[in-house]
Amino acid sequence: MNDIKFIQKSIGAKQPSTISRLLHNFNFTVGMVILILLIAMAVLAPLIATTDVNEANPLTTFIKPGIEHPMGTDNIGRDVWSRFVFGGRVSLVVGLAAMVIGMILGSLLGVVAGFYGSWVDSILSWLTEVLMAFPGILLALTVMAILGPGLSNVIIAVGVGSIPQFMRMARSSVMKTRELDYIDAARVIGCTDARILFIHVLPNILRPLIVLATLGIGGAILEGASLSYLGLGAQPMTPEWGSMLSSGRAYLNNAWWISVFPGVGIFLAILSINMIGEGLNEVIDPVNRQ
């Protein structure tokens, strides 16, 4: 197989493009399909939900999954399917928003540390190492303790928890970019630091940061759902996968569907993003490409 590729390359045959190799990658394609389905479900939630998310009906409690209620009903007669699709919205948005916050704050710190170097870098790098001494969920929990429970606080907590990784990535990318000629050129024509940082440096280091953020969404969804599961995030009325799963635990004996379906939702969301990451890694990493 390798020999064929080598011969193709040496006689100038066209190598398949990255996109086409991605599309032929099992992990990438399957992950993408799952993710697109989940996003479509979240976007179309109002259309595909069969009832209002909080429409309780004492006559229809604990109905098994069937034609009328594809995922059954819960302890107060709410339709689990409708809550599931709206819950997907909340969980995906929490993951995405947290990563955006983490990326903005972490990159800012990393860019400043990498660009100015010396004592600014020492202090900021030390701060990152200190933050990293709190394992992910613990840092998020600490922030929750400070801010108090609530869904928007979950987003902030998970975002803050991801700052160190963005900061590290941004810092090392800036340190490489800083040395390039065009930065010197910009300085020679009299650009201010802020202009160099935001117009010249930042666009060049954005790509790895965006990849990091995208692949981090899975972990962010997990952390967000964990906080809600622990009762610190979404309140019981808000449909959110973590809290739905948590509130169904009490009825595991006779109504597994209340908590199992939201769990499957979280699992699929994280799985899809991990598979996309794995696929990207297999295709883009030069070690695997040979």
Binding site: E129, A133, L141, L222, L230, L232, V260, G263, I266
Partner: protein, 308 residues
């Protein structure tokens, strides 16, 4: 070696100081008056508020308060819980053994399973078995522990009554489900690590020599490749120890087990700040210490590290 040790210790010390500053400042990050955060929702007169401020030393400047805080922490006084007025250190010490037991049990599961799966996958590289295993591992990493725990409870405790979901601390069977829940994702993660570190070491010259000497592939894998692949594996295992400990926060809540993780969660739910500070400090300190020990272990195992 001593030079390396000294530098490593100094870094750890500076991080520990940072950890203590952050946990100390936690109370001051809370929006509003720290005294309010400490006394919760009780209604008190403004005079009483000032008295508490005086008692707690909250009227001093921040650096002074930090020094007071550190003096107490170093002498083992982590304050008292706001909820039941028990010394925080006492509660932590009471809960810690249970978490440690769970963490070690999970570590054994995740390490043996992870190394075994990873080595097998590497040995059968690119076969259908390797592919199935790779997919299984991605799936394993993606399962939220609280969902895995729920499924395990559903199948083993609710449906089949094979294993208890909640058991007294002395019954080892009660440990199986929580330990598997906690260790499974880490085992899958470790398996991937082990597989790629072995593959990195594969097809090097020393293996051809071993092959020429007539050793079996299996013996080359275990006696030669694994020996060289152990550095990333040691790191992975030690990182796991701390991740498992942090993971106990969620897992102890699922199985209603005693432990420091559950203590931290209840403290956060009650906004019991001294207890939050105490539990967070302890977990972070264990984290920093185990990272330090890992780095020292490297230097012992691999002379390249201590000479660089």
């Amino acid at each position: 070696m001593w030079n390396y040790l000294g530098r490593r210790m100094l870094t750890s010390l500076s991080i520990l100081i940072g950890v203590s500053v952050l946990t100390f400042l936690m109370l001051h990050f809370v929006p509003g008056d720290p005294v309010r955060a400490l006394i919760g929702r009780q209604s008190v007169t403004p005079e009483r508020l000032e008295e508490i401020r005086e008692e707690m030393g909250l009227n001093k400047s921040l650096p002074e308060q930090y020094i007071d805080y550190m003096k107490k922490v170093v002498s083992g006084d982590l304050g008292r819980s706001l909820k039941n007025n028990r010394p925080v250190l006492e509660s932590i010490m009471e809960q810690f053994p249970s978490t440690l037991k769970l963490t070690f049990f999970s570590l054994i599961i995740s390490t043996t399973l992870g190394i075994f799966l990873g080595a097998t996958a590497a040995a059968t590289y690119n076969s259908w078995f390797d592919r199935v295993l790779s997919f299984f591992c991605i799936a394993g990493i993606s399962v939220p522990p609280f969902f895995l725990g729920l499924l395990l409870i559903l199948f083993f405790a609710v449906r089949n009554k094979l294993l208890p979901a909640v058991a007294s601390t002395n019954d080892w069977r009660g440990m199986i489900l929580p330990a598997v829940t906690l260790g499974f994702g880490e085992a899958c993660w470790l398996a991937r690590m082990v597989r790629s570190s072995i593959l990195d070491e594969m097809n090097k010259n020393y293996q051809n020599l071993a092959r020429a000497k007539g050793l079996s592939e299996w013996s080359i894998l275990w006696n030669h490749v694994m020996l060289n692949a152990r550095i990333p594996i040691i790191t992975a295992v030690s990182i796991q120890f701390v991740y498992l400990m942090a993971g106990s926060v969620v897992v102890e809540s699922i199985f209603a087990r005693q432990g420091i993780g559950r203590l931290a969660v209840t403290a956060i739910q009650n906004r019991d700040f001294p207890l939050v500070q105490g539990t967070v400090t302890i977990i972070a300190v264990v984290y920093v210490l185990s990272n330090t020990i890992t780095d020292i272990l490297y230097a012992v195992v691999d002379p390249r590290v201590r000479l660089s």
